[in-house]
Symmetry: C2
Subunit: 151 residues, 2 copies
């Protein structure tokens, strides 16, 4: 695996207008990552990467995250087979967020079984006082989590 | 403004399969938010909301974030005029990330002047050892930050 290095965080002008990749990892060593479907543009999931996950994603061309709950590198699809092939990687202005455009091969990205983790909408602009009821925008799961992950 | 309440965080099954909106705010009281262009699907920016920003976004139908650097509510466009009208709000499986689909009226979303904060790409799959050089995917700014925000 190529020994990729990240630049030091220099001035705001360098970070925002320059061409050196100097990603910002937070106090826990993580950078947030938004993953969208390269074909439809739909956000599929939101996760975190540590430096090693980011290096592996760049080198492999497949999405590798860091699981905060399991505290380990998370090569997406290692268990489920639902690998995400990276079509494009972007970084935002202050280099503290990664955006991946991926090809899922039509497979689900959400561990609950849906295509996207964002399968429910929140009503906006018509809110009444009190609780908010979500609406399911995806109604059919692409797989049964119990069959893929076990109990 | 409607007094919107958020549900308590119950079981994983409730959070992931239920219809109660129970967003998770982190230790700093924030939830991450991905904002995409409702027309093109392109991610525009990544920011955070606190509970009040989330309530105001739902009620106003315009994006209100929380600025970590300024430590205050941030009604997007209050200074620049580049208001983001919310077309749809979604929440992810474990309800710890918000996705906004917005109409920008063709205005820029990045304070640097670009349409999207994600105006640079990171080369993937062809990485050599050493530093990584970003590529500008947007080459023209939609506005001059100095004219809009001052020095």
């Amino acid at each position: 695996m190529a020994d990729i290095t990240f630049a030091d965080r220099a001035t705001v002008a360098d970070l925002e207008e320059g061409a050196e990749f100097a990603p910002k990892f937070d106090a826990a060593g993580l950078i947030p990552c938004v993953t969208t479907d390269a074909a439809t543009g739909e956000p599929l999931m939101f996760a975190y990467m540590n430096a090693e996950a980011l290096r592996q994603t760049i080198t492999l061309g497949e999405a590798v995250y860091y699981s905060r709950s399991r505290q380990e590198l998370w090569h997406k699809g290692a268990t489920s087979g639902h690998v995400q092939t990276v079509v494009e990687m972007r970084v935002d202005c202050d280099q503290d967020c990664i955006w991946l455009r991926v090809d899922t091969g039509g497979k689900a990205s959400c561990h609950v079984g849906y295509r996207s983790c964002f399968f429910r909408s929140v009503p906006v602009g018509t809110a009444e006082a009190g609780g908010v009821t979500l609406r399911f925008e995806e109604t059919e799961k692409l797989f049964d989590p119990k069959q893929v992950y076990g109990q």
